[in-house]
Point group: C2
């Protein structure tokens, strides 16, 4: 397999567009004819400051981020934000509302409680074993809540909201880690969007926070400076040294998003990939996806086979065929195909072909 | 200058060994013949788990880290640890002792106060305009202090301790960001060592924490999970997705350290580089270094020229000559040459030659 790229279905860190990786590779020892790697330049030098500004500008353009939002490049992942969000926009004892649709929601809720908040779980999908999102209108946000938090896409369960929760004016906070950049969104629906980069945006170690201006300036005393939204906004995310390579690579990936038609085209491709894979699974008597039809993720497709004892065989044979990282999350079992932006339609078709053959031989 | 590497005197992110960068470049789209970049693989996959374990093992070997210490790969930089250290190993109101030798000490002290600690600054070198470390024995650590914190090397002022502070058993906590791996140290002198990677260890976005076992398990309620030392130690630094590329690149750099003779040889080279540059500056009537002889940094050499109005000219002409990032920190002015591990002796000699010529033309 040396020298040959595989179809990598990892849930994250995940497949990245070869176009962006190739640019990064070509200039890894000599960036912009500077005689230095982008890894070696000062974050306060004009070249990197311009690089970070371009990345932010591209993200604003691609997502349609209004002037009343700050874009922050932080560290600590989405998991860090589980704590940082309460620290920044609540006081101890505040009521906050959460929707629980899976393991990432559970972790966010646990952190909010640890930060001293009065957490109300308005919808708890544990009862369905996390196979669906709550129905629109099935929950009511408390007008006094500091925010409503939800996870638009649960990476592990493969559950995605097909709608934006209504909050009646309460700020909506969303962990977009595994669905950001997969389709157009209305940023103005949200008070705060956050996302670890390691699915659709680049390498791990970079977390993007998009926060509406009115939520700034409320940080609790003792909020770590590197997570203080107002301080970081004031410092253009350079209060300390940012994860420079991540910011640079996000810029390359955003250029690829623009060159391939932006988020409208991305959504068309992602929808087609997902429909092809779900369509095949649904038509099969051998494979099945446990998620409700209206809650199926475009990005993460868990599936089970009739003979679960063959899961390791499936994964091993798929790997040998150049279809890698298809083992399901240890908490769910079975298989999972993560088909992020960088996964081409050909990769999904190759998976379907393999699944067809595997069923023929084992079904 | 295209295609030609320069001598990069940046204070950080800083020059990295070309040997490590070249390996990273060669496998950036296909790591270990996997058909995937190291940027694209799951942190929980066996390949990356082995990579992280090898990096930790190399770091333990190179630094001589005992079994009673945990090695953590965290995010948020040393600045994040300014808050995380108090959260992890103190209670609100505890007495802690700090030595103030420059701007990084000042920031650490400010964060400790924000975390509700009773901060005592045992030695404040602001009086010397941060041009020296306190003399050994000139301060006494309170036996009841939770720890003594100091900054072995101040990146901005170019002030380095030539000794390890005695604490009488109080845990010693040290920000080694700009001097780690530059020479052998006795890890057993310390309760906690932390360091941002972006000087001698790799890219920004990775922070290494080396913490003695007896300091674990004291975290305050609400300590963010990604900075909870005990929880991170339990999870092999993978409670959430680590900065995978940084861990990988640190491994490559540690291999280079080993291949070039380890820290004893590194110290010999660094001492020789520093002595050459300070020797030249001291022998000159035109240049000067403001730092006390016994406190001069091997890593960061600030210097002034007699005609300060020529500073911009100096920096511009040096850049044109392939000697980059020599502007002094904005708070100090003048020039600064950071000569970390990856700066070869030839680079220091090229700087001395340029300084000689510049003085001849302008002195």
């Amino acid at each position: 397999m040396s020298g040959m790229r595989v179809y990598n279905f990892s849930a994250g860190p995940a497949m990245l567009p070869l176009e962006a990786l190739t640019v990064a590779q070509s200039e890894l020892t000599d960036w912009k004819s500077s005689g230095m790697s982008v890894l070696e330049v000062s974050h306060r030098g004009k070249d990197f400051v311009a690089c970070a500004a371009e990345t932010e500008s591209l993200l604003r353009e691609v997502l349609g981020i209004g002037e009343n939002y700050k874009v922050l490049f932080l560290q600590g992942g989405a998991t860090g934000q589980f704590d940082a969000i309460p620290m920044n926009i609540t006081a101890v004892g505040d009521r906050v509302d959460y929707l629980n649709t899976g393991q990432w929601s559970v972790k966010a809720i646990k952190a909010a409680k640890a930060q001293g908040l009065d957490v109300h779980v308005l919808a708890d999908q544990a009862g369905s074993n996390y196979t669906d999102a709550p129905a629109p209108g099935s929950f009511t946000v408390d007008p006094g809540a500091a925010y409503l938090h939800y996870t638009p896409n649960e990476t592990i369960g493969g559950v995605e909201f097909s709608y934006v929760p209504q909050t009646g004016g309460v700020p909506l906070v969303a962990d977009f880690s595994s669905t950001i950049l997969s389709r157009p969104i209305n940023v103005s629906d949200y008070g705060l969007i956050y996302a670890g980069a390691q699915k659709n945006m680049g390498p791990s170690g970079l977390c993007v926070v998009i926060v509406r201006d009115d939520l700034l300036g409320r940080a609790r005393p003792g909020t770590p400076s590197v997570w203080n939204y107002a301080a970081m906004a004031e410092a253009d995310s350079m209060l300390n040294t940012p994860p420079t390579f991540g910011v640079y690579l996000l810029g390359l990936i955003l250029k690829w998003v623009v060159q391939t038609g932006g988020l409208t085209a991305m959504a068309q491709r992602n929808r087609a990939k997902a429909e092809a894979l779900y369509g095949f699974i649904d038509a099969s008597d051998y494979y099945r996806n446990p998620v409700a039809l209206d809650s199926r993720s475009w990005m993460n497709v868990p599936f089970l086979q009739a003979n679960g004892e063959l899961d390791k065989t499936f994964v091993a044979e798929a790997t040998a065929a150049g279809l890698t990282n298809l083992a399901g999350h240890r908490s769910v079992g079975g298989m999972r195909a993560s088909i992020y932006n960088a996964m081409p339609a050909e990769g999904v078709q190759a998976l379907i072909d393999f699944m067809t053959d595997f069923e023929r031989r084992n079904g």
